[in-house]
């Protein structure tokens, strides 16, 4: 298939892998680090975006990388970082009489305190999967007697389309439509991550589709203030391999820059119209709760006062509630890259895609789901074999 197969070419893939294998020891030397075999630490590169996590596992890339390179899976899966309190609020909205609650399919199975949207639907709530916020607005027009609420999810990638739909609803006088906004922003989150103590990430593969909207300059602080290389990457396997190689090249050269591997889509300044749409409809919340990361200042988007009529939170008087994650769940550590999915106590046993405890096991972009669904055979080789416990005497 044109425009797809070129980016999955096996020969080019092998060449990129060979280049990565050659660059890793050079990068380790440049960082003054021993190899893993000699007791050193691997090079750790975080892919921020869940779409990249998905690509890595979908194409079996993890298993082809050298042992001295570790990809750490970041917090860029919007469904995974949704805190339980917000899922509960979504379910509360969906259960209101007269409400039609529209959501992207990913969010259907995310567990709240005692149910998911899928279970709420089974119990009678009118929850519908849509493919874009425009579908939800169309539904509002088709069902004038009902209240249609759209579950706004995602980073700056999806925020513009939500914004445009709100603008259109306002212009055309649709009164039975509102948005439950859980839109989030990438930069404050990256900053919170970089500020978290004990972070041992050597470089970043940056989110291509978010950057298509916000442009390159916002990332400057990653390179300048924190001194970490960052390469904005596309989502095909070759995009990802090339980006990893570009991060390694920066490490070898001892520089930290923001580079654009995804130039066929990402422009330096981003998409001005999309930025204007976000700015017209949304404003930053003082703080927003992320699963695993806790409260992150200026990281969430809510509707501006002039669009209050379309803001489900104001319209239905939602009270923000914080609900603690289940005790056994270590999604927070996984999202920060502090723990690999298989190091979580409940991974693959109590927490599986059928019975997820944490959100990372739900979305196909979640690191745990990716490991479980695609990677559990190729990655177990990295897990030390511990002898079985002696039975208690």
């Amino acid at each position: 298939m044109k425009h797809v197969d070129e980016f999955r070419d096996p020969a080019l893939g092998q060449a990129a892998l060979a280049r990565i294998a050659a660059l890793v020891p050079q990068a380790q030397r440049a960082l003054g680090r021993k190899s893993v075999a000699e007791g050193g630490a691997p090079i750790k590169i975080m892919e921020v975006c869940g779409g990249h996590t998905h690509t890595i596992f979908r194409y079996g890339i993890e298993g082809m990388l050298p042992d001295d390179l570790e990809l750490v899976h970041g917090p860029g899966c919007p469904v995974c970082v949704l805190p339980i309190g917000r899922v509960d609020a979504a379910i509360e909205l969906a259960r209101r009489p007269g409400v039609v609650f529209c959501t992207f399919g990913d969010a259907m199975r995310v567990p709240g305190s005692d149910a998911s949207l899928l279970q709420a639907k089974a119990q009678g709530a009118d929850v519908r999967t849509v493919y874009s916020p425009a579908d939800a607005l169309t539904l509002a027009r088709e069902l004038p007697g009902r209240e249609v609420i759209f579950f706004g999810l995602g980073f700056e990638t999806t925020a513009p389309s939500t914004a445009l739909v709100v603008t259109e609803a306002a212009l055309t006088g649709v009164t039975n439509f509102s948005v439950f906004s859980n839109h989030i922003t990438i930069i404050p989150t990256l900053q919170a991550l970089l500020d978290s103590p004990g972070l041992s990430i050597d470089g970043f593969v940056g989110p291509g589709h978010v950057t298509m909207v916000i442009g390159m300059p916002p990332y400057d602080l990653v390179a300048q203030r924190y001194g970490k290389p960052m390469v904005i990457a596309g989502f095909e396997p070759l995009d990802l391999l090339q980006s990893v190689a570009m991060v390694l090249e920066q490490l070898v050269a001892g520089v930290a820059r923001v580079e654009n591997q995804y130039a066929r889509v990402v422009r330096e300044g981003g998409n001005a119209r999309a930025q204007a749409a976000i700015d017209d409809v949304f404003e930053l919340r003082e703080s927003f709760e992320w699963r695993g990361l806790g409260e992150v200042p200026s990281s969430g988007l809510r509707l501006r006062e002039r669009y209050a009529a379309f803001d489900a939170e104001r319209r239905y008087g939602l009270v923000a509630r914080r609900v603690a994650d289940p005790k056994a769940c270590q999604c927070g550590e996984v999202l920060k890259g502090a723990l690999q999915p298989w190091e979580c106590k409940v991974f693959g046993t109590a927490c599986t895609p059928e019975t997820p405890i944490g959100s990372c096991m739900v979305s196909s972009e979640g690191a745990c789901a990716a490991y479980y669904n695609y990677g559990r055979l190729s990655t177990v080789r990295r897990i030390p074999r511990t002898p079985a416990k002696e039975p208690a005497a």
Binding site: H54, R58, G60, F104, M108, P353
Partner: protein
């Protein structure tokens, strides 16, 4: 006493009425109503007109509550019966390439065929929602008759129920089938052996893509016809050239579900070569846009056959020589490593797990 003269039954007027009463019934309404399931005359009209009208020439005996089959007739064809049932609840009822009726006949035939059986006869149970257009039912039954005739199976018994509006989705069809397994054929899910080859008879995901496009929710323009087909003829062609260790039709859950079930039942590993999977370009494009994977998508005319490794070339040739196997391919093999686990060699040269989905495939956000 002059009984003959007094007996009103001999009155010409009465005889005239009786003649009309014995006429084959006809449904005059446009929509199904509750009376059509009430066990009275309206129901008899429905059965006479629509059901017997469609299946009368296919061996249906509407006069009895059961079909009767001579054992010696069955015994001519093999030494074991295969017996299966399936409920069909598809929305929309009609879609490019087929409809619920064709699925209900071919799906059950295929469930029989993958045991090696030659399908013999079907039953047909209908659940009708009050308000269903009679013409819709007529079309579906006509479609079932056409599919049964083409496949050479009879429809010999059935049942009809009507439920109040809102208690069903237009029309549900359940078919039960009986087939006879010829001596020596014994495909089983626990017979996978290291070295076996895994084959499919053609492109994956066509049916699921056709249904998703036909529902219109995605607003995608694509002409993707369903792949519905009765596979027993091709199964015969396959058994003519090789023993088949295991065979399944890849319906809901797609190829991934079938391979996982086989791998678990046999405690064998299965490796699939992603670049060998036959997928139509339209379906591939559809999947790329929605973030779906053809290996998880439903088919209605595709089967997975596991044959001894040395028989793979002739099994492939036999499939390809059949009209329903033109795009057949050897897609993988069975190995000892990773018992119970299915993996995919990706086009990039990596290897990953191929598991079943938890529920329906959910399109991703971005």
């Amino acid at each position: 006493m002059n009984d003959a003269h007094d007996d009103p039954a001999t009155h010409p007027r009465f005889a005239q009425i009786e003649r009309v009463r014995r006429r084959s019934g006809r449904v005059r309404q446009t929509f199904i109503d509750m009376a059509h399931g009430g066990g009275g005359k309206a129901m008899r009209d429905l059965i006479d007109d629509l059901v017997v009208g469609a299946f009368g020439s296919l061996g249906l005996d509407a006069g009895e509550d059961q079909a009767r089959v001579g054992l010696e007739v069955l015994a001519q064809h093999g030494d074991r019966l295969a017996f299966t049932t399936d409920a069909y609840v598809v929305t929309p009822l009609f879609f490019p390439g087929a409809d619920i009726g064709k699925l209900a006949v071919n799906g059950t035939i295929n469930d029989l065929a993958v045991s090696g059986a030659r399908p013999y006869m079907l039953s047909c149970a209908l659940v009708l929602e009050e308000g269903l257009a009679v013409d819709t039912l007529r079309r579906v039954l006509g479609s079932m008759a056409e599919a049964a005739r083409a496949a050479g199976v009879s429809i010999t018994t059935g049942d009809t129920k009507v439920v109040p509006r809102g208690k069903a989705d237009g029309l549900f069809v359940t078919t039960t089938g009986i087939g006879v397994i010829p001596v020596g054929r014994a495909p089983r899910s626990d017979r996978l052996r290291p070295g076996d080859a895994v084959l499919v008879n053609g492109t994956l995901g066509d049916h699921a893509a056709a249904i998703l496009v036909a529902r219109g929710e995605l607003r995608l323009d694509a002409e993707i016809p369903s792949d519905y087909a009765a596979l027993h003829g091709m199964v015969d062609a396959l058994f003519a050239v090789t023993d088949v260790h295991a065979m399944r039709d890849a319906t809901r859950g797609g190829l991934a579900a079938v391979l996982n079930e086989l791998a678990l039942a046999s405690e064998a590993g299965v490796v699939v070569d992603e670049s060998a999977l036959p997928v139509r370009p339209e379906v591939r494009g559809f999947c790329e846009i929605l973030g779906l994977d053809p290996v998880h998508m439903a088919n209605e005319g595709k089967l997975v056959a596991v044959v001894p490794g040395d028989a793979a070339p002739r099994a492939l040739a036999a499939m390809r020589a059949h009209p329903l196997g033109r795009d057949a391919a050897i897609i993988g093999h069975v190995r000892e490593r990773g018992p119970g686990v299915v993996t995919v060699r990706t086009g990039m040269g990596g290897e990953r797990i191929l598991d079943m989905l938890v529920g329906e495939a959910l399109p991703r956000i971005c």
